[in-house]
Amino acid sequence: MSFIEIENLKKVYSSDADCVTALGGVSLRVAEGCFLGVMGQSGSGKSTILSILGGLCHPTEGTICIDGISLYDLGVEKLADFRREYLGFVFQAFNLVPYLTAMENVMLPLAVKKMGRSEKVRRAMDVLGRVGLSDRAAHLPSQLSGGEQERVAIARALVNAPPLILADEPTGSLDSETSQEIMALLQELNAEGQTIVMVTHNLENREYFHRTVHLKDGLLLRDSADSSQQEAV
């Protein structure tokens, strides 16, 4: 059984005026420990697939299982618990809470967990150390550079030691040098066994992925895993 199993995933956004098909029936299996790149142009459905993987957006049709758990069979609150325990999000716009320090932002996923303050601080400092920001723990997001903010966001995604990290264009708003640093950091985490699904439109990032899938108009256009098999054949 694969770590992530997506079967015939469809998502249609309906409004009074019209219907937009964001995903038209995508099936995908991802092994544990994989660094998967989801690529495609704007409107290809890559962000939608990440939202559905993250338990944030109900699919119109199809099923999705992570580690054997069918996400959308869970109730609303159980799904929130799943996000907290299984997933780490890294957003393009960092999405740090502006009035909390770097350390407090990192501790956010722990805020609703029954855990002593010292343990929370220890974990937060540990992951901040891993992303090289131990000395910036007391700074507010506004006092950090874009790259540092992205690192804080990655640290926040790691603090709960989730089995899966979902990253949405983490390098989208960063310069080339900082982008490479962030990609190197994600690759390092993946090398330590972390499963990562990352959405990007930047072809330069392809080299970091184990596997790349291309989406176009809500459909799976190309999967590097299939190409490898064909090449092998």
Binding site: C57, R83, Y99, L108, A111, V112, R117, D168
Partner: protein, 389 residues
């Protein structure tokens, strides 16, 4: 790091919004506190004044005869035998269950005496209590201080041509006129007033009194109960309550309090609306932030708790400040109210129960007004909130 930390940091960051929230609640709470405490203070002042205003219970000898006088007009022709009460019987008043509500007991002995060939009504009084109970008496000269002194009503003084310092023979006992009452428009104008001891000696009725006036007036004292208790304690005495005085005064105060509480209720509703609108604005402003919380695994209940935690903090602050400001305003305006009502006894009591009530009011109003915005926030679709995924 927990929900309280996040709430506290948010309040610290959004100071202006917090000030609006606190102000909205504070004005409502302070208004209620002001009105309630002012009402309490005015009630107490009114009670005090009413105690000074005079007696509201009359103790008179029991008689089977019907009174034939009305409004000061006595329909003569019926000679009603006047009996007396033993002065020492008044001690029993101190033993009734509601004795603490008895402010003053003013005994009197009445009798007809001869002065310069005219018949005049002499009233012997306990000089200290009588002049305390009848605060509206104003004098030329001074009040009684000892035996062999006399105060004359204005009408008596004029009719008999008495002036201060005169030595007046009363039933052949020589007494000095030390004071003349200014006109009261009542029966007091026709009296000669002496100490009770002198009157008992002159009228030859030692240890006896004709009647006593009792001042027992307060908002919570059951006048009917006091009358029953006095009747049981003094079986041979007729106890009459002057209900009208009490009821009119209390009715006026109750009307004032009802009206004031109506205004306070309107202010509280406006305060609640301010909180509601501010919280709705806050939730809208924090849409993205709430989306982050939800994406990171906060349950709907966690988001509700987060917002309600902030509301509890704001409401507590508004409750405490509202109480202090409300009491401060009462302290400031009370002298004006007192002055308008003949001045006197104006004390504002810092009632801890009112403080607890103010806090509870702020918490209830704040929570109710914020419940819907908090519910809206908790039900927010995280994807819509983030708009990035």
């Amino acid at each position: 790091m927990n929900l309280r930390t996040i709430a506290w940091n948010n309040l610290k960051r959004r100071k202006t919004r917090m000030i609006f929230l606190v102000a909205g609640l504070l004005i409502g709470v302070a208004t209620v506190v002001t009105i309630v405490s002012l009402g309490q203070a005015l009630t107490m002042e009114a009670q005090h004044r009413m105690e000074n205003f005079g007696a509201n219970i009359i103790l008179a000898p029991k008689s089977d005869e019907l009174s034939l006088s009305y409004g000061g007009i006595d329909l003569g022709g019926f000679s009603i035998a006047v009996s007396e009460i033993a002065e020492k019987d008044l001690d029993k008043i101190k033993e009734i269950p509601n004795a603490r509500n008895i402010a003053a007991v003013a005994p009197k002995l009445l009798g007809s005496v001869s002065v310069q060939g005219s018949r005049v009504l002499l009233m012997g009084v306990d000089e200290e209590k009588e002049f305390h109970v009848k605060r509206w008496w104003t004098l030329e000269g001074r009040a009684l201080e000892s035996n062999d002194e006399l105060v004359a009503g204005s009408q008596v003084a004029m009719t008999l041509g008495l002036s201060l310092g005169d030595v007046v023979p009363v039933n052949e006992r020589r007494m000095t006129l030390v004071g003349i009452l200014h006109e009261t428009g009542s029966q007091d104008d026709d009296l000669l007033i002496s100490t009770l001891d002198d009157a008992q000696a002159i009228l030859d009725k030692p240890g006896l009194i004709t009647m006593a006036e009792v001042a027992a007036l307060c908002a919570d004292c059951p006048l009917e109960d006091i009358v029953i208790q006095l009747t049981q304690a003094l079986p041979n005495v007729k106890v009459t309550a002057l209900q009208q005085v009490v009821k009119t005064r209390m009715h006026a105060l109750n009307q004032f309090q009802t009206f004031s509480l109506g205004i306070a209720a309107v202010v509280v509703v406006i305060g609640a609306l301010v909180v509601f609108v501010t919280m709705m604005g806050s939730v809208k402003e924090r849409t993205r932030e709430i989306g982050i919380f939800r994406a990171l695994g906060f349950r709907r209940s966690h988001v509700m708790n987060l917002i309600l935690t902030e509301v509890v903090a704001v409401s507590t602050l508004a409750g405490v400040l509202g109480y202090l400001i409300g009491m401060g305003v009462t302290s400031m305006v009370m002298p004006f109210f007192s002055q308008a009502q003949e001045g006197g006894h104006s004390v504002v009591h810092w009632d801890p129960m009112l403080g607890v009530g103010a806090l509870a009011l702020a918490l209830v109003v704040g929570s109710l007004a914020s419940y819907y915005p908090a519910l809206q926030a908790s039900r927010m679709d995280p994807t819509e909130a983030l708009r990035t995924l």
